[in-house]
Symmetry: C2
Subunit: 258 residues, 2 copies
């Protein structure tokens, strides 16, 4: 794309379309907003970056693989998805998804089953990266990991992690078992093995976190996994549950174990 | 307040004022939006509830301590803070703050030092309740725990927890030491004792989490506390850091230890 004097009308309507679910469907592009996520995208996936767009007066605090397009405030504000934008947008192509039959990159598979809230979803991706995972598995019905909201809340971790897109939970579990997964753990609010005591929790397993409203789907031949909650609360936010499980992996020695 | 036929102009302007920081300052009221948080407020603190406001057609799924006021859609939407409101608002008085010199209710003090994001702040309150804590300590500069955004993201946990409002971190640490706190732990991104190995972490200690942008303030005679992050990430979201620490407390036996 060449936009020397400003954005073409075509680019502007692409950016607008990418903010809707419909516009993202089948698009090979995505965009991100904000300093931290933009820096990650540009650093992790420079070859995918199509455009770096700056609001007039914003300094670019990292090297860019392409010549930035500088827009006057009014024009920038028209395309920025947030009211308090930090003055930088990056348009990039999406990373290639990883085929479901490729050997696993981690000792266990983190599976998100129809997680819908962009804040929760992004936080889980960011935390998965922080503990040293290389990939995340999604069932059909999970939010789009490359929507601008999820990219922002994940600080761009989806450009580091490999994303595997599966069918429903039963289909995805079959794919995982073909790759050697022995046990599928469904996180449950009030029953199942204790996350701090379950012995082989991170050994060729799949750990499945579910939709905020309805929890993890049913799955034959799975085990329950429970996070003990001694206090007075009904349930834990799914991103907090993911954090407890992922740092239990770190506590037990993480990758050093394998 | 009596609002048989609808809201008085005075109530409506109070609700509007409570959405701004200025309007909340020195107000004895707060309000919450959404089903889950409203149920918690009504259940945990029925004596504080002044008004329960419903959008016409919304069924009240829990008993209310006061006769609900039912508003036509257009009138309800004018006062609702979110576009996709679930059709229920609760106006209540704020719980009394706990004096700083009252004996501690928990084996350790969870301290938030100028945490500003309502989503992070609320998530930490909700998680503190889930692990069995009874109170949370705030330094001056921390967000208002009774803003509608924080109440929503905490699912009303601030009506369960006691909140202690301190001065700056040095002043608050002095108050805590007077109550018998032996060690103040400052969470740090890359140094300090390992949260999974530090022996007396939850024994008459204060564990301090800091502002998203600048971290925990300096504090004399404190120890560093670190969450190991083997993966490729700069830092952890403050709510995720709090979750790791609070569930390490659960893993070690929580209150059963004391």
């Amino acid at each position: 794309m060449s936009e020397s004097g400003g954005l073409t009308r075509r680019t502007e309507s692409l950016l607008r379309a990418l903010r809707t679910r419909h516009g993202r469907r089948d698009s090979e592009y995505c965009f991100c907003d904000g300093l931290r996520a933009s820096r990650e995208v540009v650093t992790l996936a420079p070859g995918l970056v199509e455009l770096v767009i700056l609001r007039e007066g914003t300094a670019l605090p990292f090297p860019s693989p392409v010549e930035p397009v500088i827009l006057p405030q009014s024009e920038f504000d028209r395309i920025a998805p947030t009211v308090h934008s930090q003055g930088i947008l990056v348009l990039s192509r999406r990373p290639e998804p990883v085929p479901l039959d490729q050997p696993m990159a981690d000792p266990f598979a983190l599976v998100l089953d129809r997680v819908g809230d962009p804040g929760n979803f992004g936080t889980i991706l960011r935390t998965a990266r922080a503990v040293g995972l290389h990939e995340v598995w999604l069932t059909r019905g999970t939010a789009d990991p490359f929507s601008d909201k999820v990219v922002r809340s994940a600080s761009g971790a989806q450009f580091f992690l490999k994303i595997r897109y599966g069918g429903d939970l039963t289909e995805l579990a079959a794919d995982l078992r073909k790759l050697g997964v022995k046990t599928c753990y469904r996180t449950l609010p009030a029953s199942g093995g204790n996350v701090f005591l379950e012995p082989d929790l991170f050994d060729r397993s799949a750990i499945i976190l579910g939709c905020e409203a309805t929890g993890v789907a049913e799955l034959e031949n799975s085990r329950g996994l429970n996070i003990p909650m001694p206090g007075d609360a009904e349930s834990l936010n799914v991103a907090q549950a993911a954090t407890v499980i992922l740092f239990e992996y770190v506590r037990r020695g993480g990758q050093a174990l394998y």
